[in-house]
Symmetry: D2
C-alpha cells in the first residue's frame, strides 16, 4: 500500500497527522442497499477515493452511472458502475475491495484477491464462520476456501480491533448478529450470565435488511401494516452469534421479525444473571466494557429505540433489571445498513488503514 494523502474529491478535511495518500477502494455489489450505504459513507470519507464500482447483478451488461441505481447519489461519483470483473481489481489500481455481493460470489472472489495482495472487507457471510463444515447446513453450500477462511478476521470491531488492524480479510458481521453480540458481550465476557437458564434474543428488523431483490414477501403491500416472525430456530446469523459469544446452540434462541420500516434493528434480549446485581453494577460493566468504543452508546436503564440510531453508525444499548436483580432484559438498537453493515465495514477499514476509528461515521 502506498502512503495516503487526502482526497481532493472528498471534503476539504486535512489533518497534520493524517496519512499521506488517498486510499483507493473498489466496491463490488454497488447496486444493493448495503452498497448504496457504503457509497454514501465513502463519499464523505476524507481519505478514500472510490476508483471502481461493480455490480454483481445478472442484468447489467454495460457500464452505467451509479445514480441510475441510487438517485440520491446523483453527482457524487464520476466513475461508472460496471459488471463484476475481478480481473480488473489489481494492486496497481486498488488498495481495498469491499464485497457487498451474494455469499457465493464473495467465496469465489476472495482467494484470488488475497493472492494479488489486495485487502478485502467482505459484507457477505462467506468468511464469517470459522468452521467450514457448518456452511452446508446454514448456507447451503460447501466451503472450500479454507485458507482464506482461516485468515479471515471477524470484523466486530469492538471485540476484535487488534486483529482487524492487521487483517488482510475482514468478514463483516451480520446485522442481527452485531446487535445481539454487542448487547450480550459484556455480560458473557464477565461470566455474569446463568447460561443454564438459556438466552433469548427476540429481534426486529426493517426491510432493507432483506436486500433489494424484489420478491413476493418484500412487496410493499405485504410488509406494510404487518409484522411477522420468520426463521424460527434456524436463522443464518445464529452460528456467528454462537461463535462470537462462545454459546451452545441449545442454550440460545434467536427469533427475527420483519418490521414495516426501512432501516433499523431492535433486539430485546432475555438473560438470567448468575447472581443478583444492581442496575448500577450492570451499567458500570457496560460503560467500562465500551469505554473505548466510539460507536457504542451505553444508555444504562434508558431504553434505546430505532429512531435514535437510524441513519447513524451507532449501536445504543440499554437494559432493565427485574426487582430480583437476576432477570434482565437488554435492548440493543442499530441501523442494519449502518453499524449493521456499511458503517461497520467503514469502521473496519478505518482500523485497517490507520484512520481514526470513527472517520466518516459520526
Amino acid at each position: 500500500m502506498r502512503t495516503l494523502a487526502p482526497t481532493e474529491a472528498g471534503n476539504a478535511s486535512r489533518s497534520s497527522d493524517a496519512p499521506q495518500t488517498t486510499l483507493r477502494v473498489a466496491v463490488a455489489g454497488a447496486t444493493g442497499y448495503a452498497g448504496r450505504e457504503l457509497l454514501c459513507l465513502l463519499a464523505r470519507h476524507p481519505w478514500t477515493r472510490v476508483v471502481r464500482l461493480m455490480s454483481s447483478g445478472r442484468h447489467e451488461k454495460k457500464e452505467f452511472p451509479i445514480e441510475h441505481s441510487h438517485p440520491m447519489l446523483r453527482g457524487k461519483f464520476d466513475v461508472l458502475c460496471e459488471p463484476l470483473s475481478p480481473e480488473a481489481l489489481v494492486p496497481a489500481e486498488v488498495d481495498l475491495v469491499f464485497l457487498a455481493t451474494p455469499h457465493q460470489t464473495a467465496l469465489e472472489l476472495v482467494p484470488s484477491l488475497l493472492e494479488r495482495n489486495i485487502r478485502v472487507i467482505d459484507l457477505s457471510a462467506a468468511f464469517r464462520l470459522k468452521d467450514a463444515s457448518i456452511y452446508p447446513r446454514w448456507y447451503g453450500f460447501e466451503h472450500h476456501a479454507h485458507q482464506a477462511l482461516e485468515e479471515a478476521v471477524y470484523g466486530l470491531t469492538e471485540l476484535n480491533a487488534a486483529e482487524v488492524r492487521q487483517a488482510r480479510l475482514v468478514a463483516n458481521p451480520g446485522c442481527y448478529a452485531t446487535s445481539v453480540i454487542l448487547g450480550l458481550a459484556p455480560l458473557l465476557k464477565m461470566g455474569w450470565v446463568d447460561l443454564s437458564a438459556g438466552i433469548i434474543s427476540d429481534s426486529k428488523s426493517g426491510a432493507s435488511g432483506a436486500g433489494r431483490a424484489p420478491s413476493d414477501k418484500l412487496h410493499f403491500v405485504e410488509v406494510n401494516e404487518n409484522c411477522r416472525a420468520y426463521g424460527l430456530f434456524n436463522h443464518r446469523h445464529v452460528p456467528e452469534m454462537l461463535q462470537a459469544l462462545g454459546l451452545e446452540e441449545r442454550g440460545f434462541i434467536f427469533t427475527p421479525h420483519l418490521l414495516p420500516i426501512t432501516r433499523g434493528i431492535l433486539s430485546t434480549i432475555y438473560v438470567r444473571l448468575a447472581k443478583p446485581r444492581s442496575a448500577e453494577e450492570v451499567a458500570a460493566l457496560y460503560h467500562d466494557f465500551y469505554s473505548q468504543a466510539p460507536l457504542v452508546r451505553v444508555l444504562g436503564t434508558v431504553l434505546p429505540e430505532i429512531q435514535s440510531v437510524a441513519y447513524t453508525n451507532y449501536t445504543d444499548i440499554g437494559f432493565s433489571l427485574d426487582r430480583d436483580g437476576q432477570r434482565m432484559i437488554i435492548v440493543s438498537a442499530l441501523d442494519n445498513l449502518g453499524k449493521g453493515a456499511a458503517g461497520q465495514a467503514v469502521q473496519n477499514m478505518n482500523l485497517m488503514f490507520g484512520f481514526e476509528e470513527e472517520t466518516a461515521l459520526t
Copy 2:
C-alpha cells in the same frame, strides 16, 4: 339463469322479497389484490356462492387452497383455486364470471364466455374503451374482439345503472378513473365547467393499485417514506376518463402519484366554473346528482380523506370554492380495491342480478 335462493354458506340473512336461488360465481385471477378483495366481499354476500376459483398466474400448476395466497381468507372457501381453465366455465355450473386477470387474458376469454351465454364482469381494461383503434397506443395491443367491445357496458354504476342491469358484459372501470369521473360528472353533465381553462386531476394512490406482481418499484423500501409522480401525460386511465366525461385530451391533465399506503386514492381536481357559483349551489348540485347513489357520500365543503374510505366501498366527494366563485377544487376519495375495483364489481353484479345495489357493500 336459475332463480336464486339464499346461500347456506353465507351469513344467515334472508329476505322475503329476495330471489330464490343462489348466484353461482367464478373468479378468474383470484390470487391478486383485486381478486382477494372480491373474495372478501363475496364471502359476506348472502345471495352468491363462489363455485370456481382460478389463478391466471404462470406459476401455479396445481390446485391449492386460496388461503395459501390470501391467509386472511382462511376457512372462508371450500373450493380450491385451480389454474385458469376457461373450458370449465360452463353455464351448467356458473352464472357469472369475474375476471381479475391481465388485460390480454380477459380479451381472449370474454368472447367465448359470451358465446356460452355466461355473464362477465371484467376488472381489466380490455373492454373499457369503445374505440378499439386506440388500444395499441394506450395498452400496446390490438383489439380484435369488436363485437364484445360493442356490447360491453362501462360499469360506472352511478352513471350507467340502466345499461348495467341489462348487460351481459360489464367493463369495470379503473380505480383512478372512478375517482376522477365521480368527482367531475355532476359539474360536466350540467355544463358548469369552463372547458377552455382545462381540467387537472392530481391523483394519489396506494400501492395495492399497482398489483401484486413483485418488482423493483414496488419493493417495500422503494415505496416506503416516498412519494413520486409517474405516467405524466400518458397514464392508461386517461382515455376512459375522456370517454366517460366527454372531454378532449388537450383539455385534461391527469397525474398519478404513488403513496406509501396500502389502500386508497385521493384525487385533487382543479376546474374553473363558467360563471360564479356559491358553495350552496355546488353542494346542492352534487347532492342532487348522487341522491340515488348509496355508495357516494357528498360532503359539501368538508374535504374527504383516504382513511374515511379505506376498507369501504364508498366514494367521498367534497370541494372548495375560491372567493371568486369560479376557481374550484374537488377532492374525491375511494378505496382503490373497494369502489375502485372489487366493490364496484360487486355493485355491478348486484344491479345485473336484481339484488339491492349495496348488498355486501356497506
Copy 3:
C-alpha cells in the same frame, strides 16, 4: 330485558329462530378508537340498535354527530353523541351499556348501572382483576367497588363462555392479555409447560392500542420508522395474564413494543415443555382446545402474521418446536381493536344475549 326483534336500521337479516326484539345498546366512550370499532361492528349487527352514544371526553359540552369524530361512520347512526350522562342510562331505554371509557370512569359508573339492572360490558380494566388490593400498584387507584368486582366475569370468551352467558358485568380483557392468554392456555391447562424455566412473551402492538389522546409519544413522527420496548417488568396487562393463566409473577415476563402500524398485535411466546412433544401432538392439542371457538384459527406450524388478522376479529395461533421437542415458540396474532377490544366485546354480548357467538364478527 324485552324480547328481541330484528332491527330495521340494520341490514335486512332475519332468522326464524332469532330473538324477537332488538337489543338496545348504549356506548359510553364512543369517540375513542375502541368506541369507533365497536360502532362499526354494531352497525352491521342485525339484532342490536344503538340508542345512546356518549363521549367521556372533557372537551365536548354539546351533542354532535358521531361522524365528526369518526368520518368513516358517516350516515351510519342517527343518534347524536352526547356528553357522558349516567342518569340517562335507564332500563326503560337501554338493555346493555358498553363502557369504552377511562378505568376510573368505569369504576364509578358500573355499580349504579348494575343497581338499575342494566347489563354492562366494560372495555376498561376496572373490573378485570379479582384481587382489589393490587389495583393501586398496577393502576394507581384504590378499588372500592368490591361487590361489582366480585360479580364481574373476565370476558375471555374462549375460556369463560358459560359464565359470560350469565353475566351482568363482563370485564373485557386487555388486547395484549388476550393475545398471550389464548396463545398459552392450551399448554398450561394441560400442564405441558415446564414452569420452572419461565415463560416470556415478547409482544408487539400497533399504535391504536395506545388510545386516541394525542401525546408526544404518539405523534406520527415519533412512531413512524421506529420500534421501541416499554413497560419492562411492569406493564398493566401482566396481572390479568397471571390471573387467567394461573402463573406466578416471577415465572413470567411480558415485554410490549410499539410498532409503526395502526392495528394489530403479534406475540412471540417462549416456553419450555416439561417433556418432548412432536409438532403433531402440539397441533392436535391446540386444535382440540379451540375446536368450539369460531374466532380462533389454529395454524399449526404455519406462523401467523398481523396482516391476516388486521380488520378481523380472529386470533391466529401457530408455533414452532425446536428439534429437541421442548423449546417451543408460540406466535399469536390478533387485531387489538378487533378480538383485542371491540370484537371481543361484541362476542361477549352475543353470548350474553343468546345470539350466535360470531354474529357481526366474521
Copy 4:
C-alpha cells in the same frame, strides 16, 4: 464579529483560506424538529460552535441535556438546553442566533437582537412578508416591527445570494414555498409562462413539516395510511410564494397535502408556456439558471422523488412537457427539514459568514 478559527469539537477539517475563529451560534427553539435538524447540521459544521441552546416551550423550567429531547443527539453537545432567555444572547458570547420558535416569539425577539448587533436567521415566518399589512390575514397577528421587516432578506439562497451575504436578518423561507419557488423561478424569470392560464402547485408534505406539538391531527393513527388536502385557497405559504415569484393571488393555486411519511415534500406544478418549447430548451434553461447552485439538482425529464432528497439538503427538479410543447408539469422535491428549513438556514449562514455555500450540507 471576531475572526474565525476552526472548531476543535467539530471534525478535523481545516482549510488554508478558511476564517480564523469559530462562529459562536445560539439556537432558540432547539427542541422542535427544525431545531433538531439544525443541531445535526451544526454538529458536523467545521467552523461553528453551538454555545447556547434554548427551548421556547412553555413546559421547560430548567436546563436539561438536549438528548432528552433528541436522543439521536446523544453525546453531540456539552451545552445544556435552557428556557428561552433573550437577555443571555449578547454579542460578547454569540455571533449568530437561529430562531426556530413560533412566529410571534421571533417577532418579539428579533428587534432587540438586531439592536445588540447580533445577526439572526429566523426560521419562522415573522419576517418573510415585506408587506406588514397582510400579516393579520395570513398569520392572525399585527406586525409592528416594521424596521426589522424592511431590513430582512428573504433567504431563498439561490435567488438572493448577494443580499444574504450582507444581511443581518435573514427570513428563512417556508418549506413548501422553497419547493414551489425553486420549481417555478427559471420559467417565470424568463417570462416563459402564460400567466393568464393560471399556475397550480399541488404539493405533498411529510408530517414533520407540521411541527412537533402533539395534536389530534398528528396522532400516528390519523396520519398513517392516510392522505388529505388542507388549507385550500388559504395556506400561509401562499403570500411568500406570490412575493418571491411576482405572481397575483388570482393567478396561482397552492394545495398542500399531508403524506404519511416523516420527511419530504413533492410539488407537482402545472403551468402553460406562452409558446411551444422543446424539452431540450426547457432543460437548458433550468441547468443554466441553477448552474451556480450547488444544492439544486436539475434532472431534466427525469422525475424527482422524495426518497432521493430525504435526509439531504438538495432540491431535485424535473419536468414533463406535453406533446404540444406548452402544457408543462414541473416536479420538485426536497426534504422539508433539510433544504426546506434547517439546511437552508445553514446555507444562509454559510453565505453570511463567508464559508463555502455547501459546508456541512452535502
